[in-house]
Subunit: 260 residues, 2 copies
């Protein structure tokens, strides 16, 4: 019998084939947590339960999701990720694993996260990009979209950008940086913040894309924020353009870097 260690594991996945991160009670659908716990359980020869840094929705991708779990397997923590590789489905990969402090929790210990939302302006949707990025009309003006990001940076009550359907929590969040990166054919909305409300990123980028199409301006974003009214804050974009990029656990290490 080995002593229990807390392990921190970093994951990538293609969200297309998953009904989100969270395990379902009546589990006839694939979820990230379920497939991961199944592989970890095989490795530990006992059930393993994981906590994710964020519960990505169905179709949302991850370049650097973090999970934590108690580990009493024979394998040292840093060997868990490489050993997991062959046990995971091809739409999921374990990047690295390490021992974490005994009170580490992937969700509650996080101090900041970076998300990316990819879109591409074109006359028509591209079949090869359909589960990876949002098609937007060719008229999309990146300068207009960029101008709409500025009012969102800082500490605000983001109620207007939260969808119904989640456990109520403090609507005041801090956005450290919100930028528009150019990676032809993509425009990447990159946002780093203290935490995000339910669908907040998809809603904020929805407003910014609307701004890029001339449908709203920076002053409408400010008005929406102040109103705390979801109806004023633009559309919620589909899941398939969203990527969970990084999770930070050390305030001094928080950065805003586009790793695409």
């Amino acid at each position: 019998m080995h002593e229990q260690t807390i392990v921190k594991l970093t994951l990538q996945y293609d969200g297309t084939g998953f009904h989100g991160f969270q395990k379902q009670k009546h589990g006839a659908v694939r979820t990230v947590q379920q497939d991961l716990e199944c592989a970890l359980g095989g490795l530990a020869a006992r059930p393993v339960e994981v906590q994710g840094a964020g519960r990505t929705d169905a179709g949302v991708h991850a370049l650097g999701q973090v999970v934590s779990f108690a580990w009493s397997g024979a394998l040292p923590p840093e060997r868990v990720a490489p050993a997991l590789g062959p046990l995971l489905p091809p739409d999921m990969a374990a990047l690295e694993s390490e021992a974490a402090p005994h009170d580490f929790h992937a969700q509650f210990s996080a101090v900041a996260k970076t998300y990316a939302y990819l879109c591409y302006p074109a006359r028509r949707p591209a079949p090869l990009l359909r589960h990876r990025a949002l098609h937007v009309p060719a008229a999309f003006d990146p300068a207009l979209a960029e101008a709409a990001l500025e009012p969102l940076v800082g500490t605000h009550d983001f109620s207007a950008f939260e969808n119904a359907g989640s456990t109520p929590r403090d609507p005041v969040k801090t956005i450290h940086a919100f930028t528009l990166e150019r990676r032809p054919p993509f425009f990447i909305f990159l946002v780093t913040g203290s935490g995000f409300l339910y669908r907040q990123v998809r809603n904020m980028v929805g407003a910014a894309v609307d701004a890029g199409l001339g449908r709203m301006g920076p002053q409408d974003i400010t008005r929406a924020l102040e109103s705390r009214d979801r109806a004023l804050a633009g559309p919620c974009l589909p899941a398939h353009g969203l990527y969970m990029v990084r999770v930070f656990y050390e305030p001094s290490l928080v950065s805003h870097e586009c790793i695409f």
Copy 2:
């Protein structure tokens, strides 16, 4: 009753969900030709049969496949592509259509084609790239791979780079240009030639990737060409990294351009 016109139509598709281009006799599987003919038949209100410029294998993608067909529908040729859009599945798109000379044939009238093969060197396969590009070991050296392309350019008997299983045809082909383009995280093998034997591109790039990993050198490529022996010419790479990029019908318009 409208007169028959020959229409030239340019297509994009994600090859992942198709069992190749060609219609199957016992058609329980999805093919590009079948889905396209089904949509065109709906538009023309009569059966339409298409010829493709090349019969891409299962899993091979297309950015610019060309098909031709006889058209007697009410719609003018240039309106066929836009009208087809909503009738096609989401992994296929019609880019443009136009009237062609009465003797135009997508395959036999072609004078050159460009293909691309995408690979990315990394410590492990990336889930989000798994149907789009080939994972190669991180030790891949692009300069070595590049040096292996040179002996393949020009007019040669490419028997050593043809797989068994196709109708016998003239093994002498001309490669106009064969380059390695850098589009991080990808390396793109881009080849433009008069025509290609069965699996020739996947076999040539297989040899070049082997060269990039130090497993063969330019002199081995020359020796393989001269031997006409498939066993000396490196591995056939999987389909999912291959893209049919462009088909040319005018010798004066042939170009070698990376449109990624």
